[in-house]
Symmetry: C7
């Protein structure tokens, strides 16, 4: 494991800005797209995002801001 | 992706004031209209807003203030 | 849209004091009446308020204080 | 409406100390009795209180302290 | 009503230390016993406590610490 | 009751470090074992812990850290 | 029990960085893998993680950031 992985979670998340992520919310819905930006509360802007229900795309978003308290996890798609 | 997208989520949201948004709340109901203003808690004023249940308009609001903690996401309708 | 709409949500809410509102709580019940006062947490005093379940009046309140964390939205009835 | 109604919600609530209230909690149960005291979190002491389920008295309390975060609303029974 | 009842709720609760209480939690379970101590968050130590489900004793606790955020109300058994 | 019981709940909890406890979480699952340490948020480390569902052991943990906000109560097994 | 176990829960958790953990979330889903890092809110980065539903692996994650407020417990797999 590289030194890079030793950064605190929020720092690592910031480093991933402009890369692809899949986020799952507490309501089990997922959003897959580019994470344009994120703050320490895990509020995040996603661009060109797909909304997935049980793995199926049900909607598309040009630009959407997700309120951080709804986030269950953020999968970092492009490993550094 | 423009530099503009690199702004933090709340700053980007502020920049979108007076433009159209669709917000989805935790209870799955959506409101579509002009976002007159918003604060860092994501409390927001919407004007000329439609309330949608599963995509159907069920009510109209001249001016409504949504308490930020109920927000799931805010879709920015007019891309900058 | 007037300049007035550019005020932050809580400031706009304060400006609406002594006017009519309809509030919807997270439990879907609505209260319609005069908003005598409100604070930044959205605690609010309503006077001569009706409680509505699915649009039907089920109770009346001379003066009632609603705890702000229960609020879903506040519809401002008298547009400025 | 008197000037008195222009007080902020928590100040108005304090002014009502030692008067009768009916409080409804988030779980829909109501308590009716004298509000001996209250703080800014809406923790409150009630004396000689009745517990009501769907309008029927199911229990009586000589003195009970309700934790404020459970409160939905407080109906002020004796208008000033 | 004595002057004693005019104390703020948390002060009144502190005054009741070492006396009997019945607490009801948000999950509707009740605990009846001596309140050995309590803090401003309503975390409390109970000694010789009974756990009651719908009024029936289902367990006994020599000493148990209840996390305050679960508390619905605290009935003060020995009026001052 | 000894003077020892007059300590505030969190102080009493700290005093119980390295002794046995049974904790019940909000989801009704219980953990029984040694409380290696605890902080003021009620985050706690348990060692040699059993997980119990309705009184039956379903899993064992060498060392587990429970996030404090899930705690309903902590039963202190070894009375001081 | 070694002195090491006497550290506060969050300190002990930090010490476990780069070791294996199994975390259970409030929604009962578990993630098993290496904890690359963690902060005091229990936000954590997991690498090479498996997602388990009732003990069965249903997904794999190269690198995932879990928001701390969802955590029920963190089992430390490699005892110190």
């Amino acid at each position: 494991m590289s030194q890079q992985n030793l950064k605190r979670p929020l720092t690592a998340l910031q480093k991933h800005t402009k890369k692809n992520v899949t986020i799952r919310l507490k309501n089990e819905i997922e959003y897959k797209g580019k994470m344009s930006n994120v703050d320490s509360y895990m509020n995040l802007i996603m661009t060109d995002a797909e909304e997935l229900h049980e793995g199926k795309v049900v909607a598309n978003y040009g630009r959407v801001i997700v309120r951080g308290n709804n986030v269950l996890f953020i999968k970092l798609e492009n490993e550094l």
